[in-house]
């Protein structure tokens, strides 16, 4: 037995494995396959103040060891969430974190304020890195001044655990890591998707209705891992690593590079039990290598 418990700010997780936003619905969709209580936490779908229909079909394209998506934050808005979804989430025996999105700083603030009142939501993940929306999203996450402004504004109204999700589509990820820390975020999660594109050569059309979309999956793992490594050295707050994690070894790479926790995203589409398999694999590794606690290997690569 090895101790898998970790802390993200004041939030205690029973293990470092979290399901990533936009890839696990509201959790319920995966309950046929696994017991969500075996996970550290789940981060539910990107949520906005108002309901959104998202982008037009087609919204996805398969690529080499990855996929592009252009979902564009389709969700029913906070009112519906509070009334119809939250009551169910409140019964889970795992931490439920909400991924927060907006067009404007006011949107982010208002949504965070609303979510802070929900007792069973101990943390939010501020998504300033969605590449699939015209307004907001990645625009905040690729401009240092805007990033600072939105994080600071949300921090003012949200006193529970604040995680900021960073975009990899930047020259210097550590700049955004530091800004998050300075503005009082308790953790950063990275990476969101890389902005990519694909063309159907036969029809001579882009494969996505939006032309560009977000690249996820093992293809991006080397880039994500590098950014996690850089960020973990740049800030003292915990880093949550993700991008292409398909199994426990992948997750261990992120942890060794400095991630306190990891998220499983696209992998759940292919193997819905990936999250719990990763938990088991990490534990097995620690036992085999005689580490009594996950903390022994966090950031072991310098």
């Amino acid at each position: 037995m090895a101790d898998l418990r970790i802390k993200i700010g004041s939030l205690k997780l029973r293990n470092p494995v979290i399901l990533a936003s936009g890839t696990c619905g509201y959790g319920a969709e995966l309950e046929d396959f696994m017991d969500l209580s075996e996970l550290g936490a789940i981060i539910v779908k990107g949520t906005t103040l108002e309901p959104r229909e998202g982008n037009a079909y087609p919204r996805m394209a398969e690529t080499a060891s990855g996929m592009l998506n252009a979902v564009g934050l389709q969700n029913k808005g906070i009112d519906y969430f509070e009334k119809h979804i939250y009551p169910h989430l409140a019964e889970y025996d795992t931490h439920v974190i909400v991924n927060v999105n907006g067009n404007t700083i006011e949107d982010y603030v208002e949504l965070s304020r609303r979510l802070s009142r929900l007792n069973a939501i101990p943390a939010i993940e501020l998504n300033i890195s969605c590449p699939n929306v015209k307004k907001g999203g990645m625009i905040f996450g690729t401009n240092p001044a805007s990033a600072r402004e939105v994080i600071s504004a949300v921090r003012n109204v949200y006193s529970k655990t604040l995680i900021v999700k960073l975009s990899p589509n930047v020259t210097d990820i550590t700049e955004f890591a530091r800004i998050s820390e300075e503005e009082g975020a308790e953790a950063i999660s990275l990476v969101n998707t890389l902005l990519g594109m694909a063309i159907d050569v036969r029809t001579m059309n882009p494969k996505l209705s939006t032309v560009t979309g977000g690249l996820s999956g093992p293809a991006i793992k080397p880039v994500a891992l590098r950014m996690v490594w850089q960020s973990a050295k740049a800030v003292k707050i915990p880093v949550i690593g993700l991008g292409g994690i398909m199994n426990a070894d992948d997750a261990l790479e992120f942890i060794m590079a400095g991630a306190t926790a990891v998220q499983v995203g696209t992998a759940s589409f292919i193997e819905p039990r990936t999250g719990v398999e990763v938990v088991k694999g990490i534990e097995r590794f620690l036992v085999e290598k005689d580490f009594d606690s996950i903390s022994r290997i966090i950031g072991i690569i310098n």
Binding site: F33, G54, F269, P272
Partner: protein, 259 residues
Amino acid sequence: MKKRVEDLTVTDNRRLTDSFFVLKVHSAEGLPEINPGQFVQALVTESPATFLRRPLSVHDVDHSTNTVSLLVQVAGPGTERLSRLIPGENLNLIYPLGNAFTLPSAGEKVLLTGGGCGMAPLLYLGRKIHESGIKPHFALGFRNRSRVLENEEFKKLGQVWLSTEDGSEGHKGFVTDIPAFRDEHWDKVYCCGPEPMMKAVAAVCRKREIFCEVSLENLMACGMGICLCCIVPTTSGNLCSCTDGPVFNIKDLKWQTSG
């Protein structure tokens, strides 16, 4: 109908034509209840070009042998790899996925129409309808005689009309040109096939005010309702074709009527 991830064993892989094959897979665990119209997400291992699973309709189910049949068309690397599976090999499936066709009520007269790999779900649907005591009718469309698929299987269940685009077998033209389709009374029409065919069938049914369900083949990443990539615009907004579908009543779809 709990969904599961399971390694099934290939028991048969039979070529029908150049590009079509029927794959039979056996569940050692025992099959769950599966409804006509549902689909599986097949994992294609040993293909460097295949990252995501491939959605395939349930073509037939034999509960006595715990066997599922899939009717597959080679369309690219994933289906190509599946076409080379040999008995004894594993096929990992997530299933059963999606909603199902609305079965007819006693005494109703039903037409099952489709073409190409879209015919896949119609056999199992026809079988279930047949078991319920109704004789299904089939209107199946093909490019030409050499493309005609599984005709005999369908004939065991009910009347079959064929159409071919070149008239080399059955009626010349599309399924919508089959006289019985246009002229006879139908309580329910079920359709699965290429989008232009489904739209043409839907147009006829709309005009004649016939209950009509179609099974869509939108691009899917997950098949379980967690990616929101497979959406279809409906009168109640964007719905997931993998969980709210793949079967939709045409009255809910925002299709421009054509044909």
